[in-house]
């Protein structure tokens, strides 16, 4: 076995231990450890990605000494390693971009805890991406939830604590359902490893006896993960949680935490239940309908919002709707579109959150829409970032959002039953997106004659400008190099089965 095969396990363990060690350290040390950890994870995952790309196959890493049906396993293919690298990059950029705000909003003696939580969050995300064992996935789902709750409430005011409580309640409902579903699957198949469960399910799916328990298990796990990833109508906690927490948390929560659960759901579709059985079950139609509803109602709520951060948060509801709509199409192309949209949304939404904070900073700290007039001139780099993010969300060519929209439309054309609703809703949703995002862009570029607030130049905020520039580059990379990324996703999906 090559040494590269150890990397996924090593990166999970490094983050776990990094979190434990940081909890006893001072703020500066914890911060450095966190940055070094994320960089290491990026390098290790990228190496593994190149390795899987070169060998053209996935590999299984046995944790401990027990072989397949009994022991615990990690599995890494192209899609997993690519996602891990991508998650690492987005997390690092989000943390760097929100660093200044973190010091303003969080008490000094609690900042080290923020880095501890981030280490734990990264380790649980990596574990969700890599694990081949359903119960391990459940345990790390809970770790992820606890870490995310900490990220929301690290900024102490009434709003964030209330948002954290609401987040926890919805998440716990979701994880209860996931746990029950895992118990049912274990009961039916007698295995916990994904590949073994799939073998058994394929062999028993011909018998009528197991039809109802299997359907219940699929429904429970889909709904559970949908609640956790804030699919409409389970999004009540989302605007407060994203809108009032410190900005790095908002960026990380919207672009990574919910995506981790969605990625797990994709893995369950392909590696646990088998995509054919999922297609035959009616559950994807339910996901499809809620996805469509989310696309419209998320955008409508965003239009009504007068607070920029909450507007971006509601836009997340719409984008999660897109992803589930792609699942609902039930085709390979739809799934590829959804995975591409996971990348697009992660890159764009964190850019929007980070640049919105730059705009509010030069508007006297007010997040209200009217106060932001002309802020694009006062903080140029944030204005550019927000514009790029908005255009990408609306779906202009050359931006990442365009590619995912065109992929969704192409996928819809291949499914004759669902083509019409998808195309109509896609059109409406694009118009709604354009209304509320371009409204904001026009507002921030409306000149004001006498400004009360001082402008911020790029020189005064070098790190921030660098982060925004990196985000814009990722966006253009996804938009312009999309064929390569889509090839990787396709190959990764083939490695799943």
């Amino acid at each position: 076995m090559d040494i590269v095969c150890n990397f996924p396990a090593v990166s999970i363990l490094l983050c776990l231990f990094g979190g434990i060690i940081s909890s006893g350290l001072k703020q500066m040390a914890a911060r450095i450890i966190n940055a070094v950890l994320i960089l290491t994870v990026i390098v290790l995952s990228a190496t593994t990605f190149v390795y899987t790309l070169a060998t053209g196959s996935s590999f299984v890493y046995v944790m401990g000494r027990f072989p397949a049906p009994w022991g615990n396993e990690i599995r890494a293919g192209m899609l997993e390693t690519f996602m891990a690298t991508f998650f690492g990059i987005i997390m690092l950029l989000s943390l760097l971009g929100g660093e200044k705000k973190l010091h303003d909003e969080v008490e000094e003696d609690k900042i080290f805890l923020y880095y501890v939580l981030n280490d734990l969050l990264l380790s649980s995300l990596l574990a969700l991406v890599y694990t081949n064992d359903l119960f391990t996935a459940y345990v790390f789902i809970e770790i992820n939830t606890i870490a995310a709750c900490g990220l929301i409430m690290i900024r102490q005011n009434g709003r964030t604590i209330e948002a954290a409580v609401r987040y926890m309640i919805m998440s716990l409902l979701g994880s209860g359902m996931i746990l029950l579903s895992i118990c049912l699957l274990y009961d039916i198949t007698g295995h916990l490893l994904m590949s073994n469960i799939k073998e058994t399910i394929v062999s028993i799916s011909h018998y009528d006896t197991y039809y109802i328990p299997l359907a219940v298990a699929i429904a429970l796990i889909c709904v559970g993960l949908a609640i956790k990833s804030a699919l409409y109508p389970f999004h009540a906690w989302l605007p407060d949680a994203y809108g009032y927490s410190t900005v790095s948390s908002a960026a990380i929560l919207s672009s990574l935490v919910s995506k981790g659960y969605i990625f797990l759901l994709i893995k369950i579709f392909y590696r646990v239940i088998g995509i054919e059985i999922i297609r035959d079950s009616k559950i994807i139609n339910i996901l499809f309908i809620f996805g469509l509803a989310g696309m419209i109602f998320g955008s409508l709520s965003a239009m009504k919002e007068g607070d920029i951060r909450r507007m971006i948060a509601f836009s997340s509801v719409a984008q999660i709707g897109y992803i589930y709509m792609g699942f609902g199409l039930g085709t390979q192309v739809g799934m590829i579109a959804s995975i591409f949209h996971i990348l697009t949304h992660a890159a764009t939404k964190s850019l929007l959150f980070i640049s919105a904070i730059g705009l509010t900073e030069v508007s006297g700290g007010s997040r209200h829409f009217n106060e932001a007039t002309g802020s694009g001139y006062r903080n140029k780099i944030a204005g550019i970032g927000f514009t790029v993010g908005s255009l990408s969300m609306v779906g202009l060519p050359a931006f990442a959002g365009f590619i995912s929209k065109i992929l969704f439309a192409q996928a819809a054309l291949k499914n004759s039953h669902k083509m019409l609703p998808v195309l109509i809703v896609l059109g409406i949703s694009t118009i709604l997106n354009a209304i509320y995002f371009l409204k904001t862009v026009i507002r921030i570029y409306t000149p004001v004659e006498t400004s009360l607030y001082k402008p911020l130049t790029i020189k005064k905020q070098k790190l921030y400008s660098f982060v925004i520039a990196m985000f814009i580059m990722i966006n253009f990379f996804l938009g312009l190099m999309s064929t390569r990324v889509i090839d990787w996703i396709t190959m990764g999906l083939e490695m799943f089965s």
Binding site: E142, T145, G158, I169, L173, C183, Y186
Partner: protein, 124 residues
């Protein structure tokens, strides 16, 4: 259905418990009652696992008196899963309770809707 339900009454009870807990966690306004609901829900799941993992007349797989026959023992994994699950639910409960304490200190009420109303009035 009838005889099956009677034979598997343990599982039926566990599902009823799960539903009671789920409804409480979702619908109760009082935070403490929500947390009680959470615990009932989790216990329902653990009861289900324990019921599924036990076969009447068999014992835990610890070899005594040299009996090595598979049919004498039960599968130990469900019990292991229950233990892991309990650890998880204890930590989650502790987190929820600490959040509740914080909210109570700030607003002197446990009613989540009332807290939301006051937050809106504060206009933060």
């Amino acid at each position: 259905m009838g005889p099956n339900l009677l034979a598997n009454y343990g599982e039926a009870v566990s599902m009823i418990l799960f539903c009671i807990g789920f409804a409480n966690l979702l619908l109760q306004k009082n935070l403490i009652k929500k947390i009680i609901g959470l615990n009932i829900m989790d216990s329902g799941t653990y009861l289900f696992l324990a019921e599924k993992g036990y076969i009447e007349g068999r014992v835990a797989p610890i070899i005594v008196d040299g009996v090595q026959d598979v049919s004498a023992y039960i599968n130990p994994i469900p019990s292991g899963l229950v233990l892991t699950g309990i650890v998880v639910s204890v930590s989650v409960t502790a987190l929820m309770l600490s959040l509740t304490v914080r909210l109570y200190r700030r607003y002197h009420t446990l009613n989540l809707d009332e807290i939301s109303m006051r937050l809106k009035k504060e206009g933060l």
